[in-house]
């Protein structure tokens, strides 16, 4: 194993080398030394290394910036930080910035040091494999999404013919058909209308299932108020009520996904509802670790436990078309949209007791707190 030791203090460098030489290692250790980041990069170009031991205080770079610069220039190499500062928060920052370990000089014995280095190399390899798999998965998901999108589009072409010509037939030849003939034709027309709805929903699903290109602060209260305004006619007609109970904090997301999430949940709450006064309430359930939970509660017919998973599938219906119209894609869209924003959906419901859908979404926080939060991803 070849170790590149980036350390400007000759005494420290010698100490580390000696510590590692003492260890009866299964693999032979070779050292390459560099007294600055610049020299280290030059040496790396000349001959490759397996792992980098990096001091953060160098003549040409100081502090965590050293690590950032090193990661940028040698993204595939495992880096173990060795420093004089014993600072837990800084150590965690270093790990989030991609260091494999953060060791404090003078506090570590030779054997744990050797082990830390060996493990750093292994961990780096495992992470690389994981990232590779994730990348492949992302590519495949994207392909799948674009496949769904183009197929849904292509399906519209024959559908247009079906829709138009069943109409033409009825218009031109309705007179010569008997009642049953006209009924058949009308069914064809209705089927093509349903097919159109389903294709539209598939397109929405494939569009909103992707991670949005940009997320921003979205005011959930405004979203819900907008949905109420758009549906005011239906709400009045059904003597229903949609209420916002208390404050709704802003989330980090995008408008079209949030409109779909709350629009479908509120719409379902009113639709699958046989109360004399159908009601839907949206309120804040709580906030934990940067995730805010909203509760959308209705006094509708409720959902039996055995269906709690199935209803989130695409085109899943629990009722006859004559009872409740719709394609059965609404909750699938809700779930995919929430997932795409890094959130999730939960359900509490029983038949006859109404339903509460819990919507978990990333809370919008002030930008400076956000920047630290963002770094808590998988360290590459």
């Amino acid at each position: 194993m070849r170790i590149l030791l980036v350390e400007d203090n000759a005494g420290d460098a010698r100490l580390i080398e000696e510590m590692l030489r003492d260890v009866p290692a299964a693999v032979q250790i070779e050292f390459a030394g560099a007294a600055s980041l610049g020299v280290a990069l030059e040496r790396l170009e000349a001959e490759p290394c397996d792992v980098v031991l990096l001091d953060l205080g160098l003549p040409d770079s100081q502090g965590l910036d050293t690590l950032v610069a090193a990661r940028e220039r040698m993204p595939d190499l495992p880096i173990v930080v060795m420093t004089g500062f014993d600072d837990e928060e800084r150590a965690l920052r270093a790990l989030h910035l991609g260091a494999q370990d953060y060791l404090v000089k003078g506090r570590i014995e030779s054997e744990p040091l050797a082990r830390a280095i060996r493990y750093a190399v292994e961990r780096n390899e495992i992470t690389a494999q994981l990232n590779q798999t994730m990348h492949e998965l992302e590519t495949r998901t994207e392909e799948m999404e674009s496949f769904t999108y183009s197929v849904s589009h292509d399906l519209k072409e024959p559908l247009r013919t079906l829709e138009a010509f069943s109409g033409f037939l009825l218009e031109d030849y309705g007179d010569v058909l008997d009642e049953q003939g006209r009924d058949y034709l009308e069914r064809l027309g209705q089927a093509s209308a349903r097919l159109k709805d389903m294709i539209e929903k598939l397109l929405t699903l494939s569009r909103l299932g992707r991670r949005p290109p940009e997320v921003e602060r979205v005011d959930v209260r405004q979203v819900v108020e907008g949905i109420i305004a758009v549906n005011q006619f239906t709400i009045d007609e059904r003597h229903a009520e949609v209420v916002i109970d208390g404050d709704l904090p802003p989330v980090l997301g995008d408008l079209s996904r949030l409109e779909q999430i709350f629009g479908n949940l509120i719409g379902n709450g009113l639709k699958f509802n046989q109360s004399e006064r159908p009601g839907v309430t949206v309120k804040l359930e709580g906030t934990v670790d940067g995730i805010v939970t909203f509760a959308v509660t209705d006094n509708g017919i409720g959902i039996a436990e055995e269906y709690h998973e199935r209803i989130f599938g695409v085109f899943q219906r629990l009722h006859l078309r004559e009872e409740y119209e719709g394609t059965g894609a609404g909750l699938a869209i809700v779930k995919r949209a929430a997932n795409a924003l890094g959130g999730s959906i939960e359900l509490r419901s029983a038949p006859g007791e109404g339903s509460t859908f819990l919507v978990n979404l990333p809370l919008y926080e002030l930008p400076h707190r956000l920047s630290i939060k963002r770094k808590t991803g998988v360290a590459a």
Partner: protein, 141 residues
């Protein structure tokens, strides 16, 4: 413009079903229209190159066989004789590139083919209203 003269609408479309749909949609419109049809890009270009042919309005599918609708548009836009003829591009897709390319080649409008026939009738009515009643383009003949 003489309101009683029948208008000539040029339609470049390869899908026979869509031709029939367009034919019926125009039949429903308030203005009397004669449809002249080309089934592929080459035929479209040939028809539009005839010195005596000057449609009031042209609708072209983007995905035509042989020459695409965009290729036809590019060549037609170089013909002085046809300046002033509104060209509406029609496509099944809403692909950003197609929309942008259409307008870059000076299409007057880009329309995604509606799935529902009544929507198509509506679209034609809007187009006619705009191009024949509002825009009142100066005509060379």
């Amino acid at each position: 413009m003489n309101k009683f003269r029948r208008l000539t609408v040029f339609l470049a479309e390869d899908n026979p079903d869509d031709i029939e749909i367009a034919r019926r949609a125009f039949k429903r419109s308030k203005l009397g229209c004669d449809l002249v049809i080309a089934r592929d890009g080459e035929e479209a270009l040939k028809k539009l190159s005839e010195p005596s042919f000057h449609p009031d309005f042209a609708i072209m599918d983007i995905n035509l066989p042989k020459l695409t609708g965009l290729q036809v548009l590019e060549r037609v836009r170089k013909e002085k004789r046809l300046i002033g003829v509104p060209f509406v591009m029609l496509s099944a897709s809403d692909r950003e590139e197609d929309v942008r390319a259409s307008y870059e080649l000076c299409a007057n409008s880009y329309i995604q083919k509606p799935v529902v026939f009544e929507d198509f009738v509506e679209t034609i009515a809007v187009l006619e209203k705009y191009w024949f009643e509002v825009a009142r383009l100066p005509r060379s003949t």
